[in-house]
Symmetry: C2
């Protein structure tokens, strides 16, 4: 939402996710859009597209330690409704979210899909990407690079593509970690790009030891895996000495400067242009 964030009406758009206080509860709201050819492959199984649409939004809730309540769907009809609904039903059941409503539209051109997910925060204050403090340790759940390998398998028509087609949102982990973390976000656009966003939002410098990052791909692909998106792991910071309540790996730390900076193995990454997947 950075293109819109410059406008006064768009002041809350630095983050993917909004927190709304209602009747003593904190609702977490997130909206993601997917366009055929940009966010999913033309001809891809609509059931997998539906799963991914749900999982990416649920991942945003996970990063807030929120439990899903329901979703609103924006769906451009294209004839793939039966398979889409099969995948949608699977994903909603998997994550315990109800389909609350939405809109179907006609239209020509690449299919456009939107999903709004609503969750209830399980811990207050709700974690944000802006709370990392100098001295914190930087952690990541799971391993990176699986979606990259899965996407290649899907394009090639052979090999295991499930990590790309059916990403798993770290919902239980997010809820377990929410009371502990100083900052948390999901890695949707690549570790380096998302870490740089956390650094900026927190006003700290984040340092990453690239060799410490767990991989779900061959070691030879390590540098790419750090810049590839779609893995939907959680990136978070903890005060030093705190052991995370969910399985995770320490991959770096927050330091006092330069504010908003990112250092990988002690150096600034090659270019800010390709730290990860930029959605525009």
């Amino acid at each position: 939402m950075r293109a819109l964030a410059a406008h006064p009406a768009a002041r809350n758009l630095d983050d993917d996710t909004a927190v709304l206080e209602v009747g003593g509860e904190a609702l977490v709201l997130t909206h993601d859009m997917m366009i055929e050819g940009t966010h999913f492959l033309p001809g891809q199984d609509p059931a997998d597209v539906a799963w991914k649409l749900v999982a990416t939004n649920i991942s945003d809730l996970a990063a807030k330690g929120a439990e899903p309540v329901g979703v609103l769907l924006g769906y451009q009809l294209n004839g793939g409704e039966d398979r889409f609904l099969a995948g949608l039903g699977q994903a909603l059941e998997h994550y315990g979210a109800a389909l609350l409503g939405g809109d179907t539209v006609g239209g020509t051109g690449p299919q456009a899909l939107g999903l709004t997910a609503i969750g209830r925060a399980t811990h207050r204050p709700v974690p944000s990407r802006g709370g990392a403090r100098a001295g914190d340790r930087l952690w990541v759940t799971g391993a990176l690079g699986g979606a990259m390998i899965g996407c290649e398998a899907l394009r090639a028509g052979s090999g295991d593509s499930s990590a790309y087609r059916r990403p798993q949102a770290r919902l239980a982990e997010g809820i377990a970690l929410a009371p502990q973390v100083t900052a948390m976000m999901d890695i949707s656009d690549g570790l380096l790009l998302d870490a740089s966003r956390m650094a900026r939002a927190s006003g700290v410098c984040l340092t990453i030891d690239s060799a410490a990052v767990p991989l779900a791909c061959p070691e030879s692909r390590r540098a790419e895996a750090l810049r590839w998106g779609d893995d939907y792991e959680l990136l978070f910071t903890l005060p030093p000495g705190v052991t995370p309540a969910a399985a995770a790996t320490c991959i770096g730390a927050a330091t006092s400067g330069p504010a908003g900076g990112l250092l990988v193995d002690g150096k600034a990454p090659d270019s800010s242009e390709n730290l990860g997947f930029v959605h525009r």
Copy 2:
């Protein structure tokens, strides 16, 4: 959402709008999608497109007697961001809604836009389209046909197109009427089509005296005006003898049968195929 409503996961999709009970409050949630070439004209001023996107969603809140809280935007970048944001800001200020968050995406083809609006119900139970009872009178706010004339003016490049470009959601009217009505909905797809939906949801027959419907277009266009959408007036039922708390016109009544039926001047309309604007 009728194509999706057959699926078990989609059981709440008969209505455009969801009601969510949170911490003793009732939140009203609605999502509308607009595709270039289907819901707005290619080349149309993005400020007007933004206004309409907001107004259509706020109109759904109005039909529930809800006051706006905020919106989440799904925006496919196309270079018209400055004008879009200008119109978005105007509409959000006009309706008292905050931009809470959202997503911007790239992509080729016709621009796709989505908006999720969140409101707080001002009256419980929240009005639905399913509450009309035999004997109730049928009412409509404002006048119909203005958007039709406005759309023609916009296509022709002359005349007043504001009713089509800048529709007004009946927010104050919806809040005033909510405690009185037995059923309420907005007319987004045309009076006859939306009235038939209310009849089905309520299990009553609705009768309309077509000559009683106030027009915002020449008398010669009356039949078309009853089937044209985009006017965003409120259609509602009241028990006999109740005077509406907002300016409105009585245009018919609810009777006991046939359930789900619609009679215009005593006869079933020509065809169920063209009662109004079907979004697919």
